[in-house]
Amino acid sequence: MLAIGLLLPLVLQDYLTVFGTRVLILCLFALSFDLVWGYSGIMSFGQAVFFGSAGYGVALLARDLDVTSMLLVIPAGVLIGFAIALLIGGFLLLGRNPSSVIFVSLGTLTGSYAFDRLARGWYYLGGQNGIPSIPPMHIGSYDLTEGPVFYYFVLAILLLVYLGCRFLTKSQFGLALAGLRENEQRIAFFGYKVQHIKAIIFSLAGAIAGLAGSLYAFHEGFVWPNMLGVVMSTQVVLYVLFGGSGTLIGAVVGTVVIEIVSFWLSNNYQDIWPIILGCLMLLVILFRPAGLVSLILSERERIGSFGRPPKVDDKERDHGAA
């Protein structure tokens, strides 16, 4: 997949490279949701809040303060996503008793709706039209505009974030997340501070969504209220469910497939493409509830192992010694 990703700008027309960049940014966004839902069992129906808030944040930095240096705006986007996720997560997850899935789902969904309405109604944020004409971000004297360079830049970031997520989910902390997802009540009796673990992973995922949102804002050149709203929040849920939650590659595959199919369908069946796409998704979720990734990976392979299971040689040696 990485090889294909590296070669694409060399063979694609420019407008498709722009489309590819957008898809890569959305993959990053999908990874953030997969961390909270797929790996930790926290249903966040408001992931777009962190994505959109970071987008608006960097857009305001660019518009009002002329800050477009990549070294400032990207960390700012990450920080905005992290801080807002920490605030919302702190409210929803840090109670004395563990929060129910319904409480967190509705809380995040309400947050997404509220942020959307706020952006639409606030003149300073451009109201319904959002903030247009964001100047390109730059590093040194080089302006990073949409095209192959932006594509490779986003691909590099996606790869780094993917590897970072893989490191985290395969670590002992990843095992704690698996415990959280499988039986939250049980692991509390082992001494885990489950609310803290939830708040950490929620904030970390918010930071990744913020990173994606800031890249999206500079890539598209404008931000608008939909970036914060329920539609975007639901879209990322579909990416992950379609590809296979609880696997990083599933989030990426789901996003790529949905975006490419949507792109193709919208060009060829302009009137009915959302219906066809919806039916396709329903079929996958009905017959492959674990997502597309389950076509090639068993449940055991998808969950993997976290520790160091005994090697056959070790066992044989032990038996030999005995």
Partner: protein, 244 residues
């Protein structure tokens, strides 16, 4: 000094009084059985001790510290461990990972992120699986185990963090006679390391491994004492005969 003291526990669920002034005192390295007819409050008492429920009234002290309102995680970190009545191993994870999950529960999250204790805990995980005769299946998912083996795995998980007090709620429930016998053998060696409170319907099993018994009836203590004292207790005999 007693390791665990539960005094005057009252637990009310709506109109139901599940515990009505129940008491339990457990000494260090003592195996203490909690018995009583169905609905006598045994499991509720275990939950109040472990932190799954907060008593309406009463006080629980553990190792000299008042833990009446402490969270389950705080109790675990103080040295208390629980095996639930309903088996709650994590079926999708391997046996190895189940035990590692239990072992690392009190490790700082920053260390978990960088897997700093994974190497150091490996030998402990393997020793625990060896002790409970599960080492050959370390890499298999817990769902592949029989019911009895899942119970053993859960006891191994509860014992892995080396608790001062182990709470076992019906550890032999659903086991065959042979599995019950083996469970008794597996539990006997831990006496040197920790105390045990065990809820169990199998009175022969209780008689074999426990030093003292507390009998509950109607949410209150009917009697407490050594096995011989309880066997000779007219109050206990009356309750069990009445229900037989």
């Amino acid at each position: 000094m007693a390791l665990l003291e539960a005094r005057g526990l009252i637990k009310i669920f709506g109109k139901l009084t599940a515990l009505n002034g129940a008491e339990l005192v457990v000494q260090p390295n003592e195996f203490h059985g909690l018995i009583g007819p169905n609905g006598s409050g045994k499991s509720t008492m275990m939950k109040c001790i472990a932190g799954a429920e907060v008593p309406t009234e009463g006080r629980v002290t553990f190792d000299g510290r008042d833990i009446t309102t402490a969270s389950p995680a705080e109790r675990a970190r103080a040295g208390m461990s629980l095996k639930f009545q309903i088996t709650s191993v994590l079926p999708a994870l391997t046996l190895y990972d189940n035990v590692l999950l239990a072992l690392q529960g009190q490790t700082a999250l920053s260390k978990l992120m960088f897997s700093r204790t994974r190497g150091a805990l490996h030998d402990k995980v393997m020793a625990m699986l060896e002790q409970f005769r599960l080492v050959d299946r370390a890499g298999e998912p817990a769902a592949s185990l029989s019911h009895g083996q899942q119970q053993w795995l859960e006891i191994a998980m509860a014992l892995a963090p080396e608790p001062k007090l182990l709470l076992l709620d019906e550890p032999t429930g659903g086991m065959s006679l042979e599995e019950r016998r083996v469970t008794g053998e597996l539990l006997a060696p831990i006496k040197a390391r920790c105390s045990l409170v065990i809820v169990e319907h199998d009175l022969d099993f209780i008689r074999d491994i426990c030093d003292r018994l507390t009998v509950l009836d109607g949410g209150a203590v009917l009697d407490t004492g050594t096995i011989e004292q309880i066997q000779a207790s007219p109050k206990v005999q009356e309750v069990y005969l009445r229900r037989a």
